[in-house]
């Protein structure tokens, strides 16, 4: 039948596959990277270089940290075939909880952080319970959660802002990792670059990270060759790695000229690596993709789909709590409006990053890049002084364009 014919056709396409065809079949991944670069270049030019100034890059990272932290959990939830609309409210509620505990009741910071993370997990578990075991659509459960926790924040804060936080709490979001290298070294480098100061730790981290990316890439490529796995063309591999490595070094160099590595960047980086690892190379990650890809087939393959859904929401709750702590620490106060409509930014980031509404598709790296793309748009437009009205419209259109691009791509291949 037709299907059999398809088989023989795809055999020939693989043999004659050139660079152009490789690009068109992997357009999504590269497209996202190109889009991010294009947007950055555009804003770098129209803002007369403000975008990539050291202080602005630092700001960009801090501003988007809580979005990215939540995008990691949201990616898991969306891949599992669900959605969580409550994360903005939960984030705000946890910030309020932290403020009340620390400012009003003078509880120790460490205890507060633990309690807040546990509370987030509990909230996620409570919502996940109804979704997983009662099969209530996640849209409805988390819509309810969104209202409930918005109300709870208001109640907890008595409608007022609570703050400020002690210094030790603020450093979660606004602190920087101290330079462990001797100051002489930094001074020497500063003279060399003609800069005022250089944070050697940041610079070293950039170099090491870049080297690591390239090394891991090369190793994977070598293994692929051994197992006869079809790989990207060499020119692509080189170009991609050069761009990523250069970007890492560039960002870290810029950070080193300012105040060095923000604490949040470390949190974000470590979490991203952990979640990328979990989704790509562990059995739990694999099962989540199977669950979202075909729940019935997953269930008949012995996968405990209910428990997995439950865990995805619990995990989301913990990450929303972490984001709530970062957000409160950054603003240095908890307000009843904190996190308002933020869930939409998080969900948008995940979809821009290539996840599919129907589940089973999406990557952590995609979600993070998607979040940065939105972040750069926000930041760049703000620097240009574009009104919030236009910003919203442009962001909406970018989201729509990304999804249309996905669907178009899929139809073309199918």
């Amino acid at each position: 039948m037709d299907l059999a014919k398809n088989d023989s056709q795809s055999t020939t396409t693989v043999e004659t596959k050139g660079i152009g065809e490789y690009l068109s079949s992997h357009l999504r991944q590269y497209g996202l990277l190109f889009a991010l670069i294009a947007v950055m270049v555009f804003f770098q030019i129209v803002t007369d270089g403000t975008l990539l100034r050291a202080v602005n890059i630092t700001n960009l990272l801090l501003q988007n940290s809580y979005i990215i932290i939540m995008a990691l959990g949201m990616l898991v939830v969306i891949v599992s075939g669900n959605i969580d609309l409550s994360v903005g409210s939960v984030m705000g509620f946890i910030g309020a909880l932290a403020a009340v505990m620390i400012v009003n009741f003078e509880q120790p910071i460490f205890l507060t952080i633990l309690t807040c993370l546990a509370a987030g997990g509990l909230i996620g578990a409570a919502q996940g319970y109804w979704v997983a075991y009662w099969k209530i659509p996640s849209f409805i459960v988390t819509l309810a959660g969104m209202l409930v926790f918005r109300g709870l924040s208001l109640w907890l804060l008595q409608g007022q802002s609570v703050g400020p936080f002690p210094k030790e709490f603020q450093i979660i979001a606004t602190g920087f990792v101290p330079d462990v290298f001797p100051a002489v070294l930094g001074q020497g480098l500063a003279d060399l670059f003609g800069a005022r100061q250089v944070n050697v730790l940041a610079l070293t981290t950039g170099l090491v990270a870049a080297a690591l990316v390239v090394w891991l890439g090369l190793r994977q490529r070598a293994q692929n060759k051994v197992y006869g796995i079809e790989d990207e063309p060499k020119s692509f591999f080189i170009a991609r790695n050069v761009i990523v490595a250069a970007a890492l070094i560039f960002v870290m160099y810029k950070l080193s000229l300012f105040r060095g590595l923000p604490n949040v960047l470390i949190t974000m980086g470590v979490l991203t690596i952990i979640y990328a690892f979990i989704t790509e190379t562990t059995t739990v990650g694999r099962r989540i993709y199977a669950l979202g890809g075909n729940q019935k087939a997953a269930k008949l393959s012995g996968i405990k789909t209910e428990r997995l859904t439950f865990l995805a929401f619990t995990n989301m709750g913990v990450l929303a709590a972490a984001a709530g702590l970062v957000f409160a620490a950054r603003l240095n106060t908890a307000t009843p409006k904190a996190g308002f409509a933020l869930e939409l930014d998080v969900i948008a980031a995940v979809f821009i990053g290539g996840a599919s509404m129907s589940g089973g598709v999406g990557t952590i790296v995609g979600a993070v890049v998607g979040a940065f793309l939105m972040g750069v748009l926000n930041n760049g437009m703000s620097i240009m002084g574009i009104g919030i009205d236009y910003q919203q419209m442009i962001k909406g259109l970018v989201l729509l364009a990304a999804v249309i691009f996905d669907v178009y791509n899929k139809n073309k291949q199918g």
Partner: protein, 504 residues
Amino acid sequence: MALLSMQNISKTFPGVKALDQVSLDVQAGEIHAIVGENGAGKSTLMKVLSGVYPHGQYDGEIVFGGQPARFGGISDSEKQGIIIIHQELALVPELSIAENIFLGNECASRGVIDWRRTNRRTEELLKKVGLSEAPTTKVDNIGVGKQQLVEIAKALSKDVKLLILDEPTAALQENDSRKLLDLMLELKAQGVTSIIISHKLNEVRYVADSVTVIRDGQTVSNLDAAAGLSEDEIVRDMVGRDMTHRFPDHDRTPGKRLFEVKNWNVWHPEHAERQIIKNASFNVRAGEVVGIAGLMGSGRTELAMSIFGRSYGRNISGSVELHGGEIDVSSVDRAIAAGISYVTEDRKALGLVLDETIRFNTTLANLKGVSTGSILKRNEETSIAERYREVLAIRTPSVFQKTVNLSGGNQQKVVLAKWLFTSPEVLILDEPTRGIDVGAKYEIYTIINDLAADGKGVLMISSEMPELLGMCDRIYVMNEGALVGELDADQASQERIMSLIVNE
């Protein structure tokens, strides 16, 4: 006078000739039965008649009421009074009986529905079909038998000239079936002509005035009830095809009793009063291929899925033994761990994650086998997928191909690979060759023989009787949720199986 005359109808699908010069004559005022095995072409013929396959997509002529009929779609045939009631009911469960009956044909003026008239007419129609329910009752709240009557009432509301019922009693209990058949006779007395498609020969004998037997897309015989209907004759006509070399040779000497299910009872997951599996007991020996024959809807899949981790039904009771000891099959992962595998009949909906690769699907049911701790060894995973690709001859450029792009036969092999990788002792294969071409079927049969030669027990569910006869050492016959017979390979024949099914 013939109300309907279909002459030399042929219909070809890519690669398959579904109908080959079929002719059918239905006299005005009679009940005409069409019988044949699954896949014989009955439903295709009815789709041609009702315009699902419009004029031009088939060869041959249809004459209805003395006029040549060329339907462009189902609405054309309905306008002429030809109404088909499908096996799967086409009612909207959340709407009321009255709303369903007049769906798309509302008693309305300028878009505003006249509920008084709707309900009054519904009451009249319900009286005609003998259903005492309020017109406002939600369809979801009445049983399948009553839903069937609502469908017929809906047909009557449209001024029906020819009523076609496709296996109307397949989902019904005995007394509901009888009621329905009596209604058909009553409608006949009122002058309605009907066609009934059925496997159940006792029912056919009860209502039919004439019978057309179809086999392999061809008309085999036209029988007249006035001359007396013999079930034996009908059965022979239904199955009488010669068996050629479509099965690889095998020479098996089954060993000890490996797998045994005792007193298995299952109730319907939603309709708690319906018992789906009735006290089924069977066994499979090591190195043996055992078949389960039965018609669609006889409960074969439900039996298999309820055993495999209670994936179907509720209030399940009975015991499952492996090597003489009872095993825990209360969840899918436990059933897999105990050594049971179930290869689904619906590979696309239940077997594969279609958007994922062959590698992903191959290891899905045994991720422990490709991981240390819970970290996947992806290179080893690749080698394993490659190995199964080679052993099962899965034709694909690479194991990184998405399964959605594979042909049916290759998809089926990927599903088999997935279950073989769990190293099962017993494999339950549900319609293992459904919808795949002849060459691929032969390869699947070879794989099954290899499994048996390996000492595994194979339980094979199939609607294709020749397949069971060609492959199995022993065949259980299932009907309406019960195992009604057991035949050894040397005494089994299509006629014997059929007669076990039809002589309930």
